[in-house]
């Protein structure tokens, strides 16, 4: 079996008496889409936030690309190739779609401590940024401020930014949330191809998308992993049916 790109082991995070993450083990192997599902309040976002570095775990380790990154901050992890999207789109609202992506290009293509050369005429920034926008189908909206983009377009823009980071792994937190059926379908097709580039840890409520895409599924309930396995195993797992999919699913 290939060495996992991302490996979480024994992760614990408590908020007061609430154990939001309860000794979670999870890994992400090259070329796969690993879906993380669970009912609301299961601790999915808390887990993603710990992997991305926005929250510090109380215990456990996170290894990424062969290194222990448990103590690193968000920016440092992103520089190492951990590209995330947010459950609620998080963009620079005044900047155009293009400038939002350019920020990612500038972050990976060297220092941000350059004070004079204008960015807008710099093809080393605009070129890769446009390419990323084209891949998600947002090229025509490149000059529109992020705040004026539709909800679905903002979701696409988040993915374009993660692409431009040249990520070695993607953490996608509900990328389909609030998208119409047409948008979801297109995005499903896109993510299907994306896994060959870098593995994806996918948090998603859209079960059609999850079952269509996932190589493996991990089910989280009250901060604990109650099941993990292939799509078929999860579909058949009685504990999952009871806790999450509901009887008769």
């Amino acid at each position: 079996m290939a060495e996992p790109v991302l490996a979480v082991s024994g992760l614990v995070k408590s908020f007061g008496a609430l154990r939001a993450t309860d000794t979670v083990d999870l890994d992400l192997r090259p070329g796969e889409i690993h879906a993380l599902i669970g009912p609301n309040g299961a601790g999915k976002s808390t887990l993603i936030n710990q992997i991305a570095g926005a929250l510090r775990p109380d215990a456990g380790t996170i290894r990424f690309a062969g290194e222990d990154i448990t103590q690193l901050g968000v920016a440092e992890r992103a520089r190492r190739g951990l590209g995330r999207t947010f459950q609620v789109s998080s963009l620079a609202p005044e900047f155009s779609a293009l400038r939002n992506v350019m920020l990612a290009v500038q972050a990976v293509s060297g220092s941000s401590f350059r004070f004079f050369r204008p960015v807008m005429g710099d093809a080393r920034l605009t070129g890769p940024a446009m390419a990323a926008l084209e891949r998600v189908g947002l090229a025509e909206r490149a000059r529109i401020p992020a705040a004026e983009l539709s909800h679905g377009e903002r979701r696409q823009l988040e993915i374009a930014i993660a692409l431009a980071l040249g990520s070695k792994a993607f953490l996608l937190d509900e990328p389909m949330a609030g998208m119409g059926p047409e948008g979801s379908k297109r995005l499903t097709g896109f993510l299907d191809g994306l896994r060959a580039e870098a593995p994806i840890l996918l948090v998603e409520h859209d079960m059609n998308a999850v079952f269509a895409l996932a190589d493996r599924i991990t089910v989280l309930v009250y901060g604990k992993v109650i099941a993990s396995g292939s799509v078929e195993q999860i579909r058949r797992d009685p504990a999952v049916r009871k806790a999450y999919l509901g009887e008769g699913a």
Partner: protein
């Protein structure tokens, strides 16, 4: 819309150049002094505009940098006059070029120290902690008798610039004007650069900035240092204009004045500080001639701008700012 802002900016800068030139010809040096005051305050506010306008860092302590620049000019000049070394045999100087470099360095270093701590906080806490640091510097100056303490420190003769008679109002104005133009050019370049992009993104959404791998703290700290250095340079000029430096340059009213200038003109706009400084100084002169309570009217103007023109006066005439 940036096109119209550029035209207005150039027109105002031309006006700021022509008025003192004509006034000087007409034998009205007072108006030259007024224009010099505008140029210096606009430069100080341009420094603050980097932190506040681009970075969204509402520093209520920029008087500390302004005043430190002023004291650099005053102290160096005082030692040059008395021929006593400052310490370790370092002599004073009357050369503006040297004074400016020292002011830039002193302002930058102080901003590094204040920023390194203050930038760990945000929002109201940041405002309060920058105010607290500036007040510390203020009380230090008040209680330090060596350089005049509460009474301040006079600069008997304005400092010198090679080939220019700085004692005459118009040449000194031109020096300040050129430095303001340089400051504005620097601001424009910085805003369009990679650093400017990161800084503006940190204001809009620092979570996003971190998620692409740029740590917001370092970007903000660098911006704060640059900002403090430029405001200190303006402070050195201000001391030379008044031929006097006192703790009032370090007071919280001064910090507030700089913020007011920017809000009046337009936060984060290139010509915002120029518009703000012109309006502020002209109001101070015109209304100040009519009533002692001119600041009441300034308050009203500010209220109207904040309520009806969130982009400042420049936003009112040139429209909202757009980012490519």
């Amino acid at each position: 819309m940036r096109g119209r802002e550029t035209i207005i900016g150039i027109a105002l800068m031309a006006l700021l150049l022509v008025v003192p030139a004509v006034a000087s010809q007409a034998g009205e040096p007072f108006y030259v002094t007024l224009a010099t005051r505008i140029a210096i305050l606009a430069l100080a506010a341009t420094g603050l505009n980097i932190a506040l306008g681009l970075g969204g860092l509402v520093s209520f302590g920029h008087a500390a940098f302004f005043g430190v620049g002023g004291y650099v000019a005053g102290i160096l000049a005082a030692h040059a006059m008395s021929m006593e070394p400052i310490l370790l045999g370092i002599p004073g100087t009357k050369q503006m070029l040297v004074i400016w470099l020292v002011a830039l360095a002193a302002g930058g270093l102080l901003a590094l120290a204040i920023g390194a701590i203050s930038l760990r906080t945000t929002g109201v806490y940041f405002i309060m902690i920058t105010l607290a640091f500036a007040q510390m510097v203020y009380y230090f100056a008040v209680s330090w008798p060596a350089y005049g303490g509460e009474d301040g420190l006079p600069i008997l003769l304005r400092n010198q610039f090679p080939g220019v008679n700085t004692l005459k109002p118009l040449p000194f104005f031109l020096i300040c004007y050129v430095l303001l133009a340089a400051g504005l050019a620097f601001f424009a370049l910085l805003r369009g650069s990679r650093f400017g992009a990161a800084l503006q993104a940190s204001r809009q959404n620092d979570t996003r900035l971190a998620a692409v791998g740029i740590a917001p703290y370092r970007v903000r700290l660098a911006a704060f240092v640059i900002s403090g250095a430029i405001t200190a340079l303006a402070g050195a000029l201000f001391a030379d204009l008044n031929r006097f430096v006192s703790p009032s340059m370090l007071s919280w009213q001064m910090s507030g004045e700089l913020i007011v200038l920017i809000i009046l003109g337009g936060v984060g706009r290139l010509s915002g500080p120029v518009v703000g400084a012109i309006v502020y100084v002209v109001l101070e002169y015109v209304l100040g001639g009519i009533t002692e309570r001119w600041q009441l009217f300034l308050g009203l103007v500010l209220l109207v701008v904040v309520l009806f023109a969130r982009g400042g006066l420049i936003g009112l005439v040139a429209g909202r700012a757009r980012h490519g």
